[in-house]
Amino acid sequence: MKALAITAVNVKRMLREPSTIFFVFVFPMLLILVIGASFGGSFRPKVGLVNAGDGQYAAAFADRITSDADFNTISYDDSDRLLTDVERGVVNLGVVVPADYDQQLGSGAVAKVQFLGRADQSVVEYRATIEAIAASESAVFRAARVVSGEGLAGFDDAVATARIVAAGAGGLDVATESSGESLFGEGLGQFDLGAPSNLILFVFLTSLAGSAALINTRRLGVSRRMVSTPTSIGQILLGETGGRFAIAMIQGLFIMIGAAVAFNVHWGNLLAAGVLLVLIALVGAGGGMLMGSVFDNDQQAGSVGVFAGLGLAALGGCMVPLEIFPDTMVKIAHLTPHAWALDGFTELIRQGGNLGSIVPQIGALIAFAAVLLALGTWRLRAKLTH
């Protein structure tokens, strides 16, 4: 019972701190929002488009780019601005329809559409698509030149007819379909990838940085006074562990429920997701206990906690997806609890798994929790009884 009181004090101390509220509750949600907005959903390369021409053909070309489902088009007025943005990666590629586009076509010359690509792979990636659009437009004007050259119709009329023919039964189509099982799972919500990573990152980060609170308790002599009361050392240790665990659980539940409500994140099988969260909170509590008993300076523990929290999260796949890690680094990543927890959520969210399908992940997290909690309570017991 006394253990519960100690736990409650720990939670109250955390909730009273405005900056903790920000880092524990507000910032994780902010990050899920920003990451989802920037990287979530289907990626469409951004094409910057300048239409310097004022004729109907230039407009038709520009329209082909704008209506291309593969691209997200952004209009520019100025091709110098566009070039700079292509170079800086603000847009992936640029297309400039020249001022004399219609004039060149009408006079039988070659109209040159500018393609702006960075000197890297993106040139290869996108040029082919723009080139296909140019070739398709070119086909219409070639046909019109043949027809008007034969004196069968005027150029503009022939272009109109050629467009109808190209769009009609004589046109050539490609029917595209896709097959295979997606790496990231299909029908994934915009925020489904970022939410579990951030849940894991922040629960561990808060637990490790929160070790400063435990050090403060010791430094201010609160622990010693607790020991002097008729409270068993076991109760005190249980209470401190409970405090770290409760804080981790409160944060974890907040992020899980908040992400589900605000961003419509589907966590998959709720029982299994709950088990993962409890285990993450236990591992975090163990890590916090260990750090809080090994360090004696709360500022140092806070800084090391933030660094360790961010570093382990990066290493464990919570900042850059494990899927793109080199093979060796994937193995190293699984020395962190983060990678196991992430694998667990991946299975639940993307593959629709249940408790049975995440047994290895549960086993690994139990092992992390057992070792860290044992070490943490052992060290803290030693510190308190000396």
Partner: protein, 390 residues
């Protein structure tokens, strides 16, 4: 000035002793830059290799020309690796497993149908994860089909407009050159490679935590009761402020320089022209100093200052694109990004990494100096009574 330097030296030696500045200014950013360099595969090393399969159930002129002329020439450019399949099912299995990024399937009777003017449809199946590969594969086919179409559309249009001799029109159309072509303007690459991006991103992110040690120590001096003693000494009050500012500036600049040199030597980061980098660093350190001083002045206690500074540093770092580039994100975020010194620092670095001259740092430097001037002005305005009139 002498008094300011003595105060700064005292503060600096104190910071070196408690190691927190070294941890925040050097160990943490360097460690994270190492981790990012290790976990992100080198984009230039992984070859850009798209595998496509092709099944020719048609056996006609149009499919043959694509398979024997177009695909080999694209393959020669190193863009595609082509495999010919006899069996549609085998091709479909391979694309499903991801062995092929995409397969083209020309149906039986395709060429005949196209040549008769009835058109035709090529089936293309792409692997679900091969977004770019599938897009390129489709573009290659589309480009070729447009060539074919130029002829069939010419014939079709001529027939509509009353021509009689289809073979003659066909011959004429084949001789007519392309009317629209692409002309390449090669843009230089001003984006940072991932190793340099994370080295610089972490450096500027942690810079804001490093400079706070100096400006916030004024609050500590007040709490510890050493500030009245300083004020009682026969030195100008501005010397005290100056000393704290020098401490922040030196801590920030030293950490940035150590990080730039360290990441260059150890993980091959490419920061670019040292003079330009140095200018950006000085401006960046000043901007960080101004912002952190402003927060410190508004706060009541050292804890409160540290808490608010952490929040500001983290939010600005996130918006400034130090963990991931926001310039490619939604336009609103990209615009918000420009309200942080971080974004200007990263943009300036990107520009000089592409070999742009010293003039490329002018705008980012001015932007960062504007942050410095405005925030320092606000800090002095808010702090003129609170801090000095003790």
């Amino acid at each position: 000035m002498r008094a300011a330097i003595i105060i700064a030296l005292k503060d600096l030696s104190q910071r070196l002793r408690d190691k927190s500045a070294i941890l925040m200014g050097i160990v943490a950013p360097l460690g994270l830059a190492f981790i990012f360099a290790a976990i992100i595969p080198d984009a230039t090393a992984s070859s850009f290799d798209i595998h496509v399969g092709v099944v020719d159930s048609d056996g006609g002129e149009i499919s043959a020309s694509f398979i024997n002329d177009v695909l080999p020439s694209v393959e020669a450019q190193g863009l595609l690796t082509v495999t010919k399949y006899d069996d549609v099912d085998q091709a479909l299995t391979d694309v499903e497993n991801g062995d092929e990024d995409a397969v083209y399937i020309f149906p039986a009777g395709y060429s005949a149908s196209v040549q008769s003017g009835a058109g035709g449809t090529v089936r293309m199946v792409r692997n679900v994860d091969s977004t770019i590969g599938g897009q390129i594969a489709k573009a290659v086919l589309d480009g070729y089909l447009s060539e074919v179409e130029a002829v069939t559309v010419s014939v079709g249009t001529a027939m509509v407009d009353g021509a009689r001799d289809a073979p003659a029109v066909r011959a004429l159309a084949m001789e007519t050159p392309a009317a629209v072509v692409l002309a390449d303007t090669e843009a230089s690459n001003r984006t940072l490679d991932s190793t340099t991006f994370f080295a610089a991103g972490m450096a500027v992110f942690f810079l804001f935590f490093t400079v706070q040690f100096g400006v916030s120590s004024l609050l500590e001096e007040r709490l510890n009761g050493t500030l009245p003693r300083l004020l009682g000494a026969p030195i100008n009050r501005w010397s005290i402020i100056g000393g704290k500012a020098i401490t922040s500036f030196v801590l920030g600049l030293v950490s940035m320089v150590v990080l730039a040199v360290g990441t260059t030597l150890l993980i091959g980061a490419n920061w670019g022209n040292p003079v330009a980098v140095a200018i950006l660093m000085v401006a960046g350190v000043l901007a960080a100093l101004g912002i952190m001083a402003m927060v410190a002045v508004v706060a009541k206690t050292p804890e409160q200052a540290a808490n608010w500074q952490s929040i500001i540093a983290v939010v600005l770092g996130l918006l400034g694109g130090t963990f991931f580039p926001l310039s490619q994100g939604p336009r609103l975020l990209a615009a918000l990004s420009k309200l942080t010194p971080h974004a200007w620092f990263m943009q300036g670095l990107g520009d000089i990494s592409s070999g742009a001259g010293l003039s490329a740092v002018i705008t980012p430097t001015l932007a960062m100096l504007a942050f410095f001037v405005v925030t320092l002005g606000l800090a002095i305005w808010f702090g003129r009574e609170r801090v000095l009139a003790l």
